[in-house]
């Protein structure tokens, strides 16, 4: 059994303009010690789904199940959920400054969190644990910095302090919602390294929510790609980057500047994400999809295995055989965007691996 099993999760919000269908029937699971990456653009429902699981979305209509260690988090009483939050599941958010209370010392906030869940621990013990945690996440001179206020920490240090707090009770699962988006690249590299090391040491499962495909390529084991509140594709990391099936995944990767650095024109996905109040019928991506067929406009595709691989799922009406799908790609994209085939590679493979040229640089 997986550590967390989410199935058919729906979340919607009533607004004066209509019902916002933020999450529309997503299913995923996370195993102990694994990292699940959730990618998607703003409004794809990636944050709302995990926040709903943790019971911190207010005023939402929720259905589905989210089994954590066999217990459904969605039907759990508030009191029980509080036991799970923090102790079993740690959370890190994008903006560390607004997640730390500015009036209280960093150490005090960690101590409070530890003692809330573990009443048996004395203040001195909890403080010692806080110092250990700060050391663990790479805060220099932790015995001194434990008495600092959040404003005395730099952005990277605050995010480390958040990680320390989230890891304080050695949770089985860590949900990191855009943990490095507000940080500079060199600091981002430090923070990601800390998370990786902690995972190796404690076997924590991580759900990494991000829009940055680079971060995903770096540390996810499994990846789900979300669009308009639904899962478009799910596969292991390498498949997502080099043998993806869904046109949205392909479009996301293609719209990035090539890592090889040639200055050819970028290939953006045309148009904009749909309104979650007025979703288009059929596949939500069809208005922007270069492969669109009649069927896509009326019928919603299921998340089905690709090429008999039960670990690779795609919600798309394109043939679920990669060879046929790539032939179709060549037919559509090849005509619209003529580009030289990579030398020494079979055309079908070259098309399946748009990111591979990057590594050769």
């Amino acid at each position: 059994m997986a550590l967390l099993e989410v199935s058919d999760l729906h979340v919607s919000f009533g607004t004066p303009d209509g019902i916002v269908q933020a999450v529309r029937g997503i299913t995923f699971d996370v195993d102990a010690g694994q990292t699940l990456g959730i990618v998607g653009e703003s409004g794809s429902g990636k944050s709302v789904s995990t926040q709903t699981i943790m019971g911190i979305t207010r005023g939402a209509r929720v259905s589905g199940t989210a089994l954590f260690e066999g217990r459904d988090l969605l039907t759990m009483s508030n009191q029980d959920l509080q036991q799970v939050r923090g102790a079993k599941v740690g959370m890190i958010f994008q903006d560390p400054l607004s997640s730390l209370h500015p009036f209280y010392k960093v150490g005090w906030q960690i101590v409070e969190m530890i003692r809330l869940h573990d009443r048996a621990m004395s203040k001195a013990q909890a403080r010692a644990r806080a110092v250990d945690l700060l050391r663990l996440v790479g805060i220099p001179q932790p015995d001194r910095r434990v008495d600092d206020f959040p404003h005395q920490f730099s952005g990277g240090m605050r995010q480390r302090a958040m990680i320390a707090m989230a890891m304080a009770l050695n949770p089985a699962l860590l949900i990191a919602d855009e943990p490095t988006t507000a940080l500079d690249v060199t600091v981002q590299a430090q923070v990601l390294q800390v998370m990786k090391t902690l995972q190796d040491e404690f076997g924590t499962a991580i759900i990494m929510i991000t829009h940055d495909l680079g971060v995903i390529a770096d540390l996810a084991d499994e990846v789900i790609v979300m669009y308009a509140g639904a899962v478009m594709e799910r596969a292991d990391r390498r498949t997502i980057f080099v043998a993806n099936h869904h046109p949205y995944t392909e479009g996301l990767l293609e719209s990035l500047p090539a890592y090889g650095g040639d200055r050819e024109r970028l290939r953006p996905i045309p148009g904009q994400p749909p309104s979650l109040i007025n979703l288009p019928p059929g596949c939500p991506f069809h208005p922007r999809c270069p492969y669109v067929m009649d069927r896509c406009r009326t019928e919603v595709p299921n998340l089905d295995p690709v090429g008999g691989d039960s670990a690779h799922l795609s919600a798309c009406w394109l043939p679920h055989d990669m060879r046929a799908r790539n032939a179709r790609r060549k037919e559509v994209i090849g005509r619209a965007l003529p580009r030289p085939a990579e030398q020494g590679t079979a055309p079908a493979e070259a098309l399946a691996a748009p990111a591979e040229t990057a590594g050769s640089q």
Binding site: P140, H211, A217, Y259, R265, L266, I269, A355, A358
Partner: protein, 380 residues
């Protein structure tokens, strides 16, 4: 303060913008009571660079390195503490608000936040029409016609002239910002993080738009961003800033292929690359600590407290921004011990004492202390 002079001879007609030894300090309130001397944030300290007509200069660096301050100095939104800015052959560094005005038409800016930079209560047509109103050019129907032309140019529907910014998505708002900047066909456009607030698929749309407009009107861009892959894509030349100074400047491919400054090397290696195979193989250079305070920047080379190659010379002597290791005159690095091709600085260890590596904010940046048990990742 460094005294690097501009590379090419003055009077070079090809150069649209020349920045020479620009310094900008901001006074800060001293934390100690009754202290006579005022402290200053050394935001920009002795920056020299030039941009040729029709080219794009990328400016990268981390938060607080002074890249936006430099842009605002060039726009003359800030007065310079010292230094000289020559735009299109004219010295604009000491012009008053009034005498600066004719040049404002030629230097325009695109901002990062498409939500904060547009007045929510004004209609799009009037926002884009602002430059016309300010400079007293075209009014009434004539202005509307010209605004609609610009809207069409940037890919907005001219019929949306009377809509409010809230009715547009982030990408479309950024197009409004571009339209406003381009209303007068400026010579220089300063793009301050123009795509960092946008989603990936929309980013590419705006980058393509900027490239098309550059080609069509021969625009010159100063492109500021922290996303290195975007900068690499758009720039002819890239300048890397650290704590108010340029630590390295080079033609784009030169910089990526032969980074000389350890900071550049670390910065490039820290960028997450959307390619799992590459991510698994590479050795990341993990810098220790954070950027020191610009109120009291470190002595000598400003990067020495974090540099894996730091030596006593780096603490004592400020390096000069000049070509290193036989590079051409357009590739200059500010480092005593430049990185050779193929050198792996992730294995380097500084030869200065930990005490010298105490950064001004009080962070002990000793690599062993700050990354307990977190060695460089092996290529599994």
């Amino acid at each position: 303060m460094s005294t690097e002079s501009a590379v090419s001879a003055p009077g070079d007609d090809d150069v649209l913008l020349r920045v020479e030894n620009v310094v900008k300090y901001f006074p800060v309130r001293s934390s100690q009571l009754f202290r006579r001397q005022r402290d200053f944030v050394h935001a920009v300290e002795g920056v020299s660079l030039e941009i040729r007509r029709g080219q794009t200069l990328g400016l990268v660096g981390e938060t607080g390195c002074g890249k936006s301050t430099l842009a605002r100095c060039i726009m003359r939104l800030y007065d310079l503490t010292s230094g000289k800015i020559t735009f299109d052959g004219h010295d604009i560094s000491t012009l008053s608000r009034r005498t600066m005005r004719p040049y404002r038409r030629d230097i325009q800016m695109i901002f990062q936040d498409p939500y904060g930079s547009l007045n929510p209560r004004r209609r799009v047509g009037s926002i884009i029409g602002d430059p016309f109103a300010i400079h007293g050019i075209a009014s009434g129907q004539e202005r509307k016609k010209r605004v609609q032309e610009v809207m069409e140019l940037v890919g907005l529907n001219p019929e949306h002239y009377n809509r409010f910014p809230a009715e547009f998505s982030g990408g479309q708002r950024q197009r409004i910002g571009v339209a406003r900047a381009l209303a007068f066909r400026p010579k220089l456009v300063i793009c301050d993080e123009p795509v960092s607030a946008l989603d990936v698929s929309i980013q590419a749309q705006i980058i393509n738009l900027l490239a098309d407009l550059q080609q069509e009107f021969g625009l010159t861009y100063l492109f500021i961003a922290h996303d290195l892959s975007v900068v690499r894509h758009v720039s002819d030349t890239v300048a890397v800033m650290y704590l108010g100074q340029i630590s390295e400047i080079a033609p784009t491919s030169q910089l990526w292929d032969h980074p000389r400054h350890p900071y550049t090397d670390a910065l490039l290696s820290a960028v997450p690359v959307p390619d799992p195979d590459h991510a698994d193989q590479r050795e990341r250079i993990l810098l220790v600590g954070d950027v020191p305070s610009p109120v009291a920047p470190p002595s000598g080379c400003r990067f020495h407290p974090r540099c894996p190659k730091a030596a006593p010379t780096c603490v004592e002597q400020e390096p000069v921004l000049q070509p290193r290791l036989g590079d051409g005159p357009d590739h200059r690095a500010k480092c005593h011990f430049p990185v050779a091709d193929g050198e792996d600085i992730s294995l380097a260890r500084p030869t200065i004492s930990a005490g010298a590596r105490i950064i001004e904010t009080g962070i002990l940046a000793d690599s062993d202390a700050s990354l307990t048990g977190l060695g460089p990742r092996d290529g599994s």
